[in-house]
C-alpha cells in the first residue's frame, strides 16, 4: 500500500520544493546575457555576497544561477542569466509578471565583514562579474569600511561587457581604481586595453600584498594565470579568494555533480580561500 507524506510536516519537508518568485524587470545586456530582477512572495531571499540559487521553470528544469545584487533590496534580488541551455533559454523568454521557482540561497559567500579595513582587489572575467558584483556593490555602498578598492574586468570582446553603465560609473569614480580589457576587438570598436586579464596587472599602482585580499571570479581557464600573477606580487594563499564554477545541480550536497575531490562546491563553496583548496588536484 503506497502512502504519501504531507510536505507540511516540519522534518519531512522536501528540500527540492521551490518557492515562487515573480520577475519584475528584464533587460538584455549582451547577445547571450540578460539581466533579471525577481521578487519572492513572502520573504527576503536572505542571501550573502557570491551565493547562488536554483531557478526553475516547471516542465523545463532547474539551473544554478549566481545572485548579482547585494542583500538589502527587500524581497527583490537580481541575476544575470546567460542563455546556454534549455532552462536559461526558457527564462529568457519570460516577461515581467511571469513566475519562476527558486530554491536557496546556497553556498559560501565572500567574507565582506572580515575584509573590513583591508584593500580589495577584484579580478573578474566575463560572467564572473555577476557573482562578484554583489560584493563589489556592497563594498562601494560601504566605501568607508575598506581601504583601496581595485576592480579588474576582462571579457571576450566589447560586446560582452556587462552592466555597462555601472562599469562607466566605476571608471569615473575617483575613490576606486577600475581597469578593464577585452581579449579582442574590431578596429575602431574599442580604445581601451586589449589582451587577457593578466595584461592589466602591470598597469596597477603598487599593491601591498599583506594588506590586500584578491577576489577572483571568472572562467575556469583564468584562475591559474591570475594566481601565478598574484604570486609574483607576493600574495599569500590566505589572501586569495576564489569562486569556482561547477555543475551545482541539487544545491544541497547530495547529487554529486559538483564534487571537487572530497568537497561539494554547492555547499563547501563556491567561494573558497585559496589555501583551503590549493592542495586539491581537481580545484584549479
Amino acid at each position: 500500500m503506497i502512502r504519501t507524506i504531507n510536505n507540511n510536516i516540519q522534518d519531512k519537508k522536501s528540500i527540492y520544493l521551490p518557492e515562487i518568485a515573480t520577475m519584475v524587470r528584464k533587460e538584455q545586456m549582451t547577445d547571450l546575457d540578460t539581466y533579471f530582477e525577481f521578487e519572492l512572495k513572502d520573504r527576503p531571499l536572505g542571501h550573502l555576497y557570491g551565493q547562488f540559487v536554483e531557478i526553475s521553470i516547471p516542465g523545463i528544469g532547474e539551473a544554478p544561477i549566481s545572485i548579482s545584487s547585494p542583500p538589502g533590496k527587500g524581497n527583490r534580488f537580481e541575476m544575470v542569466i546567460r542563455r546556454v541551455g534549455q532552462v536559461t533559454s526558457a527564462i529568457h523568454k519570460l516577461e515581467p509578471g511571469d513566475s519562476v521557482g527558486i530554491r536557496g540561497p546556497f553556498g559560501t559567500s565572500f567574507p565582506m565583514e572580515e575584509l573590513r579595513g583591508k584593500n580589495l582587489l577584484f579580478v573578474t572575467g566575463g560572467i564572473g562579474l555577476v557573482p562578484a558584483r554583489s560584493a563589489i556593490l556592497y563594498a562601494l555602498q560601504n566605501r568607508g569600511d575598506y581601504e583601496d578598492i581595485t576592480i579588474l574586468f576582462g571579457c571576450r570582446d566589447p560586446g560582452q561587457r556587462l552592466f555597462t553603465s555601472e562599469l562607466n560609473e566605476w571608471k569615473s569614480r575617483k575613490d576606486i581604481d577600475f581597469l578593464e580589457t577585452v581579449d579582442k576587438c574590431e578596429p575602431g570598436e574599442w580604445d581601451g586595453n586589449v589582451g587577457v586579464i593578466t595584461t592589466l596587472f602591470p598597469l596597477l599602482k603598487d599593491i601591498d600584498p599583506l594588506e590586500t585580499y584578491a577576489i577572483i571570479v571568472g572562467p575556469p581557464v583564468m584562475y591559474k594565470f591570475v594566481i601565478m600573477t598574484l604570486y609574483d606580487m607576493e600574495f599569500s594563499d590566505k589572501h586569495i579568494i576564489v569562486s569556482l564554477e561547477r555543475h551545482m545541480k541539487c544545491g544541497v550536497g547530495k547529487c554529486g555533480h559538483c564534487q571537487m575531490n572530497n568537497l561539494y562546491v554547492c555547499q563547501d563553496g563556491p567561494v573558497f580561500v585559496y589555501d583551503t583548496i590549493k592542495h586539491l588536484k581537481e580545484a584549479i
Binding site: D11, S14, Y16, E62, P219, H247, G256, N261
Partner: protein, 342 residues
C-alpha cells in the same frame, strides 16, 4: 545481544502470514535465471537465501532508479507540489556488506540537509540481515567492512546454522516485535558456533593494502599510470556505478505527459563515470578524460568517503568487478596493479 533460533519451516510459514497480511511489502532474494535479485515475494517458497550476490543492491528500494519528487502544471511555477510516496517494506536476507552500504547511504541523505524522500522510505523499512553462505569470486568484504557497521542499520541478523535452522540476533526493538510474532525458540548455540557460522565463507579476494591505509595510499598514487592504463579501457558505460551499493549520485529532470497539462520532476540514477557528469552549462567538462573519471570513482570510495564518514566508501561486494565490460572496475584489481607497478 539476544539470540533466538527458528526453523526454516517456521520462518517461511511466518513470512507467508506476513505476505498474506499485506501490511508491509515483503522483499527478499529470488532467482533470476542463473542470478539472484531482490524482489517482492508472493510466497516464501520463492525466497532463496543461499545466494552469492544480487544483481542490484537493495538501494533501489530507498533511492529508486526513477522517483517522482515534484508534480506541477508545466510553466506554472505556483503549481509545484512536493511528492513523497513510500510503503512499509520488510527486506529479508540482506548480506552484511549491503547493510554497511545502507549505513553509508543513510549518512549521505541525512548529514546536512535532510532528504525526506529517502529518509521516509528508510524509516518505514525493517532490515533483516544475513551472513553469506555462498562464495562470490569478486567479493572482498571481509577486508573492508569492519566492526559493527552492519549492526548500525540491521533490525535482525540471520545466521544459517545448518540442519534447517537459523539463529537470529535481535538488534533493535523493531526487530524484536517483528520476530516475536513467529514461532521461535531460545538459542542453544554457543557463541563459537554462531561465530563459525557467520564466517563460513572466506572471501577469495582481499584488498592488497590495509583498509585504514588506503586513503593515504591512494593519495600517494594520484598520478600513478594505473588511471591512464585502466581509463583507456573504460567504455564510460556507468555499469560499475549503477550496481554499486554506495553510489547515490543523481540527476533531476522534468517530464511532461502527452496532454502537456501535467508534469513531474523526477530523480534518476546518474553516475560520475558517464562522460557528461561534470559538464557545466556552456560546455566545460571538469572531468573530461576517462582517466580522471576512473580515478574519481575510486577516490570517492577510498579517500573522500572515509574522510567524511570515517568508513571506507566501498563495501567489497564485487558487483562492479562483475558488471564491468572491460574487467577493470574492481578496486582489488586496481590496487593490485598499483602494488605490482610501483
Amino acid at each position: 545481544m539476544e539470540i533466538v533460533k527458528i526453523s526454516e519451516r517456521d520462518f517461511n510459514e511466518f513470512i507467508d502470514t506476513k505476505i498474506a497480511e499485506k501490511e508491509s511489502k515483503i522483499v527478499s532474494v529470488v532467482r533470476k535465471g542463473t542470478h539472484f535479485a531482490f524482489d517482492e515475494l508472493d510466497s516464501a517458497s520463492s525466497m532463496c537465501l543461499d545466494y552469492d550476490v544480487t544483481l542490484l543492491p537493495p538501494k533501489k528500494y530507498f533511492q529508486p532508479p526513477k522517483e517522482t519528487m515534484l508534480r506541477f502544471v508545466p510553466k506554472k511555477a505556483d503549481s509545484y507540489e512536493a511528492v513523497n510516496e513510500y510503503e512499509s517494506l520488510t527486506l529479508i536476507g540482506v548480506h552484511y556488506y549491503d547493510l554497511a552500504a545502507i549505513y553509508l547511504m543513510d549518512r549521505a541523505f541525512s548529514d546536512g540537509e535532510k532528504d525526506a524522500n529517502y529518509l521516509v522510505k528508510r524509516q518505514n523499512s525493517l532490515l533483516i540481515g544475513l551472513y553469506p553462505t555462498r562464495f562470490f569470486k569478486y567479493r572482498f568484504s571481509n577486508s573492508v567492512v569492519k566492526g559493527d557497521l552492519p549492526y548500525k542499520v540491521a533490525d535482525l541478523m540471520m545466521i544459517q546454522m545448518g540442519n534447517g535452522y537459523y539463529a537470529l540476533e535481535i538488534v533493535t526493538e523493531k526487530g524484536r516485535s517483528f520476530i516475536e510474532q513467529a514461532k521461535y525458540k531460545k538459542s542453544d548455540y554457543s557463541l563459537k558456533e554462531i561465530e563459525n557460522a557467520k564466517n563460513r565463507i572466506k572471501d577469495d579476494q582481499k584488498l592488497p593494502v590495509a583498509v585504514e591505509l588506503t586513503p593515504d595510499y591512494l593519495k600517494q598514487h594520484h598520478s600513478h599510470p594505473v588511471w591512464e592504463v585502466f581509463g583507456e579501457k573504460c567504455y564510460s558505460c556507468g555499469s560499475c556505478v549503477f550496481v554499486c551499493p554506495t553510489c547515490y549520485c543523481f540527476d533531476m529532470r522534468d517530464e511532461v505527459d502527452l496532454t502537456l497539462k501535467n508534469g513531474e520532476r523526477v530523480r534518476v540514477w546518474d553516475g560520475c563515470m558517464l562522460e557528461s557528469f561534470a559538464t557545466c552549462a556552456g560546455g566545460h567538462n571538469f572531468r573530461k578524460n576517462r582517466a580522471a573519471r576512473f580515478r574519481h570513482r575510486i577516490f570517492r570510495k577510498g579517500v573522500n568517503m572515509p574522510l567524511k564518514y570515517h568508513y571506507w566508501g566501498c563495501v567489497g561486494c564485487g558487483r562492479c568487478a562483475d558488471a564491468c565490460t572491460s574487467s577493470i572496475a574492481g578496486p582489488v584489481k586496481i590496487l593490485k596493479y598499483i602494488e605490482e607497478n610501483k
